[in-house]
Structures are given as C-alpha cells and as structure tokens.
Symmetry: C2
Subunit: 150 residues, 2 copies
C-alpha cells in the first residue's frame, strides 16, 4: 500500500497517527485496556489476521506503548500498557464519547462508564488544564510553538 510516513511531519496529530494510526491498533489497545492480553485472545476477539497482529504488537512495543511480560517458563507473553500507553486510553475514551453520541443509534451505547469519584454513569468532557473551563474546537487560538516547522 506504500503508505506515507507521518512520523516525520511537524504535527503532533501526524506523529500520534504514526504510533497508533494503522488499522487495528486502537482496537488492540482497547482490548489490552480491558484486560485482554495474550496473542491468541486478541486474535480471536478481533478476528484480525495473525500476521497483522504480530506486526501491530511489535510496533506498539517498539513505540513504548505496550510491554511484553513473560508469564510462564515457556516463551509465553502478556501484553500490558505502559504509562505512555495508559495515557493513550484518553484518546480511546474520547472516541467512545463521540461514537456513542453520533453513531450508536437506537440501541444506545454498547458500554457505559461508571466514574469512581462520583459513582455515576458518565462520560468524558474536555477542560482546560489551566483554568478548568470547557475547551473545545472554538474555544482556542492556535499559535506557532517552539517545534514549528522552519
């Protein structure tokens, strides 16, 4: 398919896509997040080809998003989220929020979140890390940062 390399672009969106933008990668993270951690489990749950699953897991491990943990004396491994990977779950949670709102249809959302702090069924909302007020597309100005392209 001869895919363009997004990792070289001066854009954090493109760079993030270089890590998890390939087909299946977000779904693999989702499964690992909810506790599915072994090769055959993932393969069966996703219905992904074993070849592609191998490629994706290697890439995610290379990128420091997943870690391989031996769990037996044999060459058997579990995949776990690293700290870097755990923070990617934020992205998944936002995807879930958008998909629940715009794509779930009559049946409603497939999964609900209960928030530990308040005990309620809820979902995520984006806030400014500085002042705590809502922060969405129209609430910001974009400025060139230090890593901007020359």
């Amino acid at each position: 398919m001869q895919r363009t390399n997004f990792g070289e672009m001066a854009c954090s969106i493109a760079r993030t896509l270089d890590v998890i933008g390939e087909p299946w990668s977000p779904l693999i993270l989702r499964d690992v997040w909810v506790g599915m951690s072994r090769f055959d489990q993932l393969q069966a749950d996703l219905g992904i080809s074993r070849k592609v699953l191998t490629e994706r897991l290697n890439h995610l491990v290379d990128q420091g998003v997943l870690e391989r943990h031996p769990y037996d004396n044999r060459p058997r491994y579990e995949y776990r989220l690293t700290a870097k990977g755990v923070e990617l779950v934020d992205l998944l949670m936002v995807m879930v929020g958008w998909g629940d709102k715009w794509l779930a249809g009559e049946a409603g959302p497939p999964v609900l979140y209960r928030h530990h702090a308040c005990g309620e069924i809820s979902h995520v909302d984006l806030r400014c890390a500085h002042c705590g007020e809502p922060m969405h597309a129209g609430d910001i100005d974009l400025l060139p940062g230090p890593g901007a392209a020359a």
Copy 2:
C-alpha cells in the same frame, strides 16, 4: 487491502474508526479545522495523492463530518466541518496533547493553544461530564450498555 469493516462492530471505537480511521482522514480534518478548505490547498499541504484525497473527502461528506459549499458560479467547493465534525476536533485536540507530551522531543510542540476563557497557553484535560473531577483510564469501571452485543 480488503479491509475489515469496523462499522459493524458493537464498539464505539471501531465505529469511530470506520468514519475517520483511514489513513489521512484525521489530517484532512485538521487542515479543514485550521481553515484550509479547498481541494488543491489540501492536496498541496498534505502531499496526499489526488485520488485518495477525493475518496477521503467523499467519505467524510457521506458520514456527515464535512459539508461541501459552492463558493463560485463555477463548480468550485469549499469543505467545512459540520457540527458532527466540529466535535471530532475534540479527538484531534487529545491527540495533540498526547503527541506533544510523548513525541515532540527537544524541539517542543509545533503548535500551542491559547484558551479564550483564561487567555493562557494550555492544553486539554479529561474530566467527568457529571462531577467535573478528572476521568482517565484508571478512574472508571466499564459496564455493559444497552447497545451491547447479544
């Protein structure tokens, strides 16, 4: 590529990927978000093949994420975000946040956000829509929802 159809899965992540999971789609949304709206502009800025750009734009319009607006008497169009598309920008903002933190390196982030409400350079944080407390991977329990697979 004979890609698996994510849209049929009972998972809001998979369904969202069905809308914007193909290569380039998030970058197209980014460009439209920052005001780049015409075919040739997008093509030149992204370096994407015209064929693929055509396919992606059609798909995003079909999915109700972008709208085509004529801007001349000739057949000339601008692409704009719909309400559904504007809310996808949340996803982009979270990707930026993660990429800035984990992938920007020495040079620092390529782009900065100034939040209108407080005037500060900031970034997004995920909060519970119900109680306003932080809401990340470890702060929730997952429960089956009404649209769960049988």
